[in-house]
Symmetry: C2
């Protein structure tokens, strides 16, 4: 079923000599499939095919690209149980999660299909000619978004489907008209291969050009670096660690032609707990947060890793109940020995810092690779003095910061790095009366949540998934939702271009019926 | 009239010891005004005031920011003849150009005022709650663009008004809600000081926070580098040379928190001349291009520096007439001895390359600092072999590339760097039948022009001014037109946020009546 080969355009290939296997954290054993890493020649061929495919693919209509995206979704569904089996064997995640994530992945593909079929996303602007304008005539000018070129997508460890081979980055790039070369994640290369085969079936079924998609295996950093350095690659999508994302950003910045890198990286997703809200609901909130912290073994980028409150009875009650509740939860399997290794190391670094008290730690025996949750606590001043405590501990861990006052709480927020999300647990009047705390939080995050939990990232147009660095490398874009297509397009103007040779989106007749800005006014009118 | 001091928020200051003067290229003498460079302390104060001002300014409504922009325009107009006098004395440009550029500058400010007053630019997306959705409820989520923080703007040598102190970058940043610190261009610091004083009057008149604007003098690179490295600066706008822009990009990329740099840099703006179009209109086109090449002494970033055609009678006629016509034009004054020095050096480098023939060169005496135009010619194969010929010669110079065939012409285009514009001179049938040449040109440029000249950049929503590197550092944005506001904003999501505490743009009642995407559909409806 799994060949272990690379997908170079429509051809499978394995000319390299370096091999690796994936690992099943549930059975604590290597899986049988043997993957061959992509060789330099295969990398070159994949990029060169992508550059050729770009010329054809970038000109495909929204309808044609939509048919391709829908075919990918269908072929992924056609993989059936095989995909679920390989997914679970390579991630330790349960079947339900596999199926949920598959649903999300095909849902994303279909959302992009609908988005580009409708077509208004190209942001068409038309300024018609005014030949009689004084002192000089105005010439007809029309603008729309076009694809930037071949994109390299790095699979994410924690989302083998939704943020990997045919995940959000790939779907957005295809929707934009950009070919994609995936650097498969070494923890789930079998899952990646199956999804890649589904994409290739869709390529062939819908007549897309050879090279519009390739999938390269690699267990180290060399293949990824070579891809990002390749002159014909025009953009990069990445989900993972700050260290990994920053390395790619630095590599891209050193190119003769620098290219955009959108990396969605670390986040501790601060949660601000205000006293009144905790005064009678401390127990409810602590139960909710015990669930959010341990959800998926804490392996979500929106995991609440920092709980900031003001000293007092409410916070004490919250902390105590959270401590009691969180140890009642059964640990679950983490993705890989390396992930749990890093978790244990980072957790231990955090809890051994001066002034950090451990409030709760699951200390019963757990199966190998099962992540044991912990909650610890520190004062606001200690937190402010020790930047080590500001770093993410990827896994089921959270740190309570007990501030002396609202002022210190604001100072804590002002001293955080950029984050994907910020949450505020407050009464309505607390929300109204703490505008400077809320502003401080807003300045650090991409999404702010009132009386909820950060986990759970809805895929919809109003989702912002990305935030000030290091939450992401460019806060001006999102990694989730249809607006993520904007990462892979550039505006392009046609001046005095004959109507019949314009793309449909810019033609007088508006054959697609899209919404455009014509001489400054938004409308679906013809000209 | 000119104090030579820095504008640090609302205070003028000159604590530094390094001074410099601007130069009048028409009189070939230094101007009298003495400028004091910003000292480290002044840089720090300016940025720190900007960071404070951001908290207030970024929350101002579109109406309030529009009033500020309109007041700036008015105060610039109130500077009257003083501004024109200082402008001409620091640029060598004629009065008419000064007044035209002033008109463009205040026009840009007012266009942004109208844009943000209307308000739809924030790209509001609203997805309402579905509490009964299965398997999990959908939570209310709303997104809009918000300001990213203090922006550093570098004045451009060739546009003392429209791309400098209160130019497009500054207008866009203010419109977005970002404070601005301008690094004044050393060639026209007096012009910059006058405009800065107008901005400060507008700040005070419309009650904008102290620090929303600062203007720093500097004749070297240190002040600019210090600004780009400052942790509280969140974005950079630059118009100038590739070397200068790349240096800022590299500095920004090395920061602990990398920040976006939008630099609009070099471009040779290739013009493709197809044979049929030249067969009977060679003379017309050569006259048109003689004018475009020498317009403003060739000191526009859209100056046509490369004319690519296919060997034959049409191209011969075009070249011959262009040579005859261009020497009839009287040279005009260039901006500064350094600019004309670089022009003469780069022109000489180009025309002394092997295989380059000079077709025409103005060789009468010209006044000091007047740029003498030249046109040269090279074969397609020589051009392909020699990358030196691909570089910009900033000034009234153009190189004709004579290709063996349409195939070689396409190869020439494929080997160019990224460009702001590409022009195609063709008959309708040539345009229809040369799709691969047109695609090759499109892939290299931000704006494509049919049967026209690249000079003349209309300020309107459909203008794309920016292109693949090195035309600009990020082809996904424009430096001209209201869409240039997108460089300085990031999307921000509010989850489950109380309606009354949302920004007006996201409230149920849609009090501003803006166009929003509500549950996937564009409308101006209430909810």
């Amino acid at each position: 079923m799994i060949t272990g080969k690379n997908q170079i355009g429509n051809t499978v290939s394995a000319i390299g000599t370096k091999t690796y296997r994936t690992f099943n954290p549930q059975t604590n054993q290597e899986n049988l499939y043997l993957f061959t890493e992509a060789a330099a020649e295969e990398i070159d061929t994949a990029v060169s095919l992508a550059a050729d495919a770009y010329k054809v693919f970038s000109k495909k209509s929204g309808k044609e690209k939509a048919a391709f995206l829908r075919a990918i979704a269908e072929e992924i569904e056609n993989l059936g149980d095989d995909l679920v089996k390989v997914y679970t064997s390579e991630s330790g995640l349960p079947e339900g999660r596999a199926m949920g994530e598959r649903g999300r992945t095909v849902g994303q593909l279909r959302a992009f299909a609908a988005h580009i079929e409708e077509g208004s996303w190209v942001d068409a602007r038309i300024d018609t000619a005014q030949p009689d304008r004084q002192p000089i005539p105005k010439i007809d000018l029309r603008k729309m978004n076009v694809a930037i070129g071949p994109i390299v997508v790095f699979g994410a460890s924690n989302f083998p489907l939704a943020f990997s081979t045919a995940g959000g980055d790939t779907a957005a790039a295809f929707a934009a008209g950009c070919p994609v070369i995936v650097k498969s994640h070494p923890m789930h290369s079998g899952t990646g291969e199956l999804v890649a085969s589904a994409i290739i079936k869709a390529v062939e079924k819908t007549g897309m050009p050879n090279g519009v998609f390739s999938n390269l295996n690699s267990s180290g950093i060399e293949v990824g670096q070579a891809l990002v350095q390749h002159p014909q690659v025009k953009g990069v999508g990445f989900t993972g660690s700050i260290r990994g994302g920053r390395a790619l950003l630095d590599t891209a910045a050193k190119r003769q032609e620098p290219i955009p890198v959108f990396a969605e990286m670390g986040s501790i997703n601060p949660v601000v707990l205000l006293p009144e809200a905790l005064s009678n609901k401390a127990t409810d909130w602590s139960k909710t947060y015990a669930g959010s912290i341990t959800l998926g073994a804490g392996q979500f980028c929106t995991n609440p890793g920092l709980l900031v409150g003001v000293k007092g009875e409410g916070l004490d009650n919250f902390a105590q109940t959270l401590a009691e509740e969180i140890v009642k939860i059964e640990p679950t399997c983490m993705l890989h020995p390396n992930i749990i290794g890093a978790y244990e190391h980072n957790k231990s670094t955090a809890i051994t810092q001066e002034g950090v008290a451990v409030l709760a730690a699951y200390d019963n025996d757990a199966k190998p690779n099962y992540g044991r949750q912990a909650v610890s606590k520190v004062t606001g001043s200690t937190f402010l003095e020790n930047p080590t405590l500001h770093h993410e501990v990827f896994g089921p861990f959270s740190l309570i910061v007990e501030c002396e006052s609202h002022t210190q709480l604001e100072e804590v927020l002002n001293n955080l790095e950029g984050q994907l999300t910020g949450t505020i647990v407050a009464t309505d009047s607390e929300l109204e009366n703490n505008s400077s705390i809320i502003s401080a939080l807003q300045n650090k995050v991409g999404r702010i949540i009132f009386n909820g939990v950060p986990t759970g990232v809805e895929v919809c147009p109003s989702m912002q998934h990305g935030g000030p660095y290091p939450a992401s490398t460019d806060s001006r874009f999102t990694a989730v939702g249809v607006d993520s297509i904007k990462r892979w397009v550039r505006p392009f103007s046609f001046q005095a271009w004959p109507n019949t040779l314009l793309p449909e989106e810019l033609q007088d007749e508006n054959p697609m019926g899209i919404s455009r800005i014509i001489n400054g006014l938004q409308s679906t009118d013809k000209i």
